[in-house]
Amino acid sequence: MIEDRELDGWREQWSGVAEPPAEFQCKVKERIKREERRFVLGNLLTVIAFLGMLTFAAFVRHRSTWMGTGWSTGICVLVFVAAGCRVWVLRRLWRPQTQSTRAFVELWHKRVTARIRLLRISVYLSLGWIIFCAVLTAANWATIGQDVRAHPNQWVALLVVCTLMQYPVLWYGAVWLRRRKLAELNEVKKILDEMDEKNVT
């Protein structure tokens, strides 16, 4: 057997690098419990939000206010289309990270690309939602118009709030998220290049 003193020396130094703290296992168990609670709570909140939206849609459907049938239909369509888009875009990407590094980084690349695509679809969907609401409002102007004339201040306030919500959420949120995802994409591409040894110095 060939002796490799340099490697043996490195291994000796390496083996003394770090030991996990004594209470490591206890801390990990606590962390697992916390994560499991968070997971259950997260799922529960998602289901509650989903059901809440549908209940709200059903509620407004049976009230003869200006929101009426169109609004409830819109909410239902938005909820299902948003959920459907998310499931479709992220399909086949939930594999656990137990695979090789190469496969993991390739999957990571696919995930980031999918999220960027999802972000683009979300922006289009939001714009579509605004147009849908505008068309619906125009179609029901006979009913809504009376309400607007009766309560003009409330409608102006509603319009301002909607605009303020749309602008930061749609514009700044999307721009910030896109920039972040593009940076992540560049990083993943860099790692993939390193793996292909394209740019290793």
Partner: protein
Amino acid sequence: MSEHRQALETQFAHILSEYGAAIARLAFSYEAVASVREELVQEIALAIWQALAHFRGDCSERTFVYRIAHNRGLSHVWRRRPPHQPLEEIEESDQPVDPRPQPEEQAARTDQRVRLMSAIQSLPLTHRQMIVLMLEGLSHAEIAEVTGITENNVAVRLTRARKALKDALGARP
């Protein structure tokens, strides 16, 4: 508690006691700051727990642990940019304590270790991974399983990674 869950917990406890030190060392190569490193070690352990239920034994337990640990390390590097903090900047309390008595020898060992770690941290991610797996004593076949490249490729890359490590050590005072 179900039998399945109990079996998983036993296996997990075994993995932590068997590979806890290796995970801590590996985390050292991805993170220099002690408090963040401890967090990373916990994250790796958590990822192993989450993946354990899907572990069907299609690779060795060792390969399974190193795969998850490295993949977590990679994600950590991305989330925590800028990635490299030279170990010279780490406070004294971050250094592992060597219980042996001779202070000069101990100081020299610590110094060598710090140089080695700093050099490893300065390597590109793929070289770093190769070096860490080699130092952990994995065979070429095991490294190939962890990284997802062929054994021949592992040999070539290990040679390059070793050269890069030597250069990095040479560049350090």
